[in-house]
Symmetry: C2
Subunit: 421 residues, 2 copies
């Protein structure tokens, strides 16, 4: 039987892949409201300060701060209220010493004011009682606390200064980023194009999910699990269906898929001979071709990783558990890389107490599906043991537990890191 | 000024909301391949065992295990290879005692075999040398290790037994769940309808993001941040635009939105008087109406929570930071609830070392935006301080840090939980 060559630890294997993945996909300009989850291709700057006028952060009165110095419950400052700043309009009222203007939260501060007294620190005098309402007649208030210059006032540019870089390039857009862009009127944004990921299934035993399996046949799983993973990573899955175990059919399908897409994933047949054919097919696609054939992990050792003209190639083991784990290890980072994502999402890691011993071999990174539950001392992780042919070991798990490369297993009671699905 | 009534801690406020949210949305049947992220409305069962035939987990030879008992390197068992099981076809070869058949990983095991010897534990004899190929002529192998009955064989139903519940109802479908359903030929799945969430912005100062703000005007942020949060929670945002601060206009818009959608979110103006109008408008929509007006958190205290005819109502503060945090606290769980989701996603929580002291008031849950970085002792969290009017405090943060209800602050060096965006 053939030797596996280049069996590398996962980190080295990924580094090798990235050495050959030099460029990211081109940018496209799209409406900001549709850009959730997309990756910025440029680093947008603020076209004007935000806010672009002085705003009140309280309901109350715009004042000259010096008029309130020393004010207290027993010795309030008396001010004459001479107008109101309407919401959404310029603050046209002019204040003289000893005067104030009604202002609402978010409203503009008159040029002649420099602070806001919140309404809870004032009392109105005379017929207005506790009524808080606009009036065309001036009325008087008692101010019970002093305010400093600038107090309860948002300064222009306090949220963002004009010209400031508001987001880095290579940033995944979240709801607040969309809001921040639109607050500045940036209704279009330049983002990296989403990678189109070609997915080919191979295997004479594999049939479409709509078909009824005869003896020896199984339905295609990997095309669909990988499609879901592509979507979750920000790519667009393009399924090319099931290719027969015939080198010429595989060649043609792989060439067409690679020409039409930005990345190629073949879910190889499970047997050694079929895997070798996959290596040959991927190698013939161009330069540099297959970079390594074998990763020091379990499950998923016979994974094929390559690059052709800047497009990642991935040959996944046929077993559905191996295929998902290996796609997570190489496919998802490759999709991030093609989009220029600078900081992969941190989400998806939890620490939990292991409930059972797990055996492992040193020199290999093991991934064991695990189910999480709430235990007496917090989260606990129970391994879901099962052969890597069994998709339901993943269905019944909440995440993957990693046994590090040079650790000969894990003991019950240890704290372990679980990567959530 | 009006009193806030019913200021509840967030957990009690949420419990009150859920008391009135009794039913979930109706189910709909959709293609399984399009069901990623949707919530199961039923608990599907396996229509047949998976696999539905005995499969080999190795490349090697199907044998009668008893023929290999006692086999070793020095005393191998000799077997005659009389055929090959082709991939994707019935295993028609019949084995007599002392006979074996070539079988590939995933291939069917002949009825007359009960185990598989992996190829690495065999040697071929004679002209075939190390060649591993099908042959029409019988040839002999030496078996160097014994196998037990059932070894390297996947039994029918070992992945899932016929009739087994394969997923619970109320489960969010992940890539492996889609694969697991399709493996069983379940190409349609009954899922809960996605909630349509109406989003109304109010405020005379608020203008569309496409417009250029005049003095005192700001662009709408909340309609878009909340839209993103709705999408991330699995709902469909429907924006009704900006409604003037006029009770009749708000009434009409709210009634229409509630009739057309499953949930109503109003981003209220920031001033107290406008908030009071929002309470009145929401209360007039039906029974039970507004449940509480005020949550013991900062930011976001003046949040309005209500229910009308099983549809959640949410009045968010106008400040963008408060609005996002409060939507996360009530809106996201409400969307999960309407879809019948049983286990909200665990993802999105990390522990980190706090880099600075944070002051807080007892009796209030504080949420402070925080930026994560890698420190000498692992992940560290640095608070991003800023007024809740400043959307860029959230843009510049990786998550929210919670100061618990009855803790008067947090100290630098403490381990804190950060909820990731």
């Amino acid at each position: 039987m053939p030797e596996f060559f280049n069996v590398l630890p996962p980190d080295e294997a990924r580094a090798l892949l990235f050495d050959y993945l030099t460029s990211q996909l081109p940018a496209e300009s799209i409406p900001t409201v549709e850009a959730l989850g997309r990756i910025t291709a440029v680093s947008p700057r603020a076209p004007h300060p935000l806010p672009n006028f002085r705003r009140s952060t309280m309901d109350g009165y715009a004042v000259k701060a010096s008029d309130t110095f020393g004010a207290s419950d027993t010795l309030p400052a008396f001010l004459q209220v001479v107008g109101e700043v309407p919401m959404g309009a310029a603050a046209e009222v002019e204040l003289q010493t000893g005067q104030a203007a009604i202002v609402h939260t978010g409203g503009m501060i008159p040029d002649t004011a420099d602070a806001v007294v919140q309404i809870e620190h004032t009392q109105t005098i005379g017929e207005y009682g506790a009524e808080y309402a606009a009036s065309s007649e001036p009325f008087e208030i008692e101010v019970l606390r002093p305010v400093a210059v600038g107090q309860n006032v948002l300064q222009p540019g306090e949220d963002v200064a004009e010209g400031a870089e508001i987001l880095p390039a290579g940033h995944r857009l979240r709801p607040q980023d969309i809001g921040g862009l639109l607050a500045l009127g940036l209704t279009e944004i330049s983002v990296t194009r989403q990678p189109r990921v070609a997915i080919l299934a191979t295997g004479d035993e594999v049939i479409e999910p709509t078909a009824m399996p005869g003896p020896g046949q199984i339905r295609d799983i990997n095309s669909y699990t990988v499609s879901g993973q592509v979507i979750e990573a920000g790519g667009i899955p393009i399924r090319y269906g099931i290719i027969p175990d015939d080198i010429e059919a595989m060649r043609q399908a792989a060439r067409r898929a690679l020409a039409e897409c930005d990345m190629l994933v073949m879910s190889a047949g499970s047997s050694v001979s079929v895997r070798d054919v996959t290596v040959d097919v991927l190698n013939e696609l161009g330069q540099p071709g297959v970079l390594l054939h074998g990763v020091a992990t379990r499950p998923g050792k016979p994974t094929i990783v390559g690059v052709v003209e800047g497009k990642p190639l991935l040959g996944l083991p046929g077993n559905p558990v191996s295929a998902m784990i290996q796609f997570d290890m190489f496919g998802t980072p490759a999709i991030y890389h093609l989009q220029g994502l600078q900081r992969p999402p941190r989400r998806g890691l939890v620490w939990a107490t292991l409930t059972q011993n797990i055996a492992s071999e040193s020199g290999r990174e093991d991934y064991v599906p695990a189910r999480l539950s709430d235990g007496p001392k917090g989260l606990q992780a129970t391994p879901v043991f099962g052969k890597s042919n069994l998709i339901y070991t993943l269905v019944n798990a909440d995440g993957l537990l990693k046994v590090p490369l040079n650790k000969g297993g894990l003991l019950a009671g240890e704290m372990v890191e679980v990567k959530l699905f």
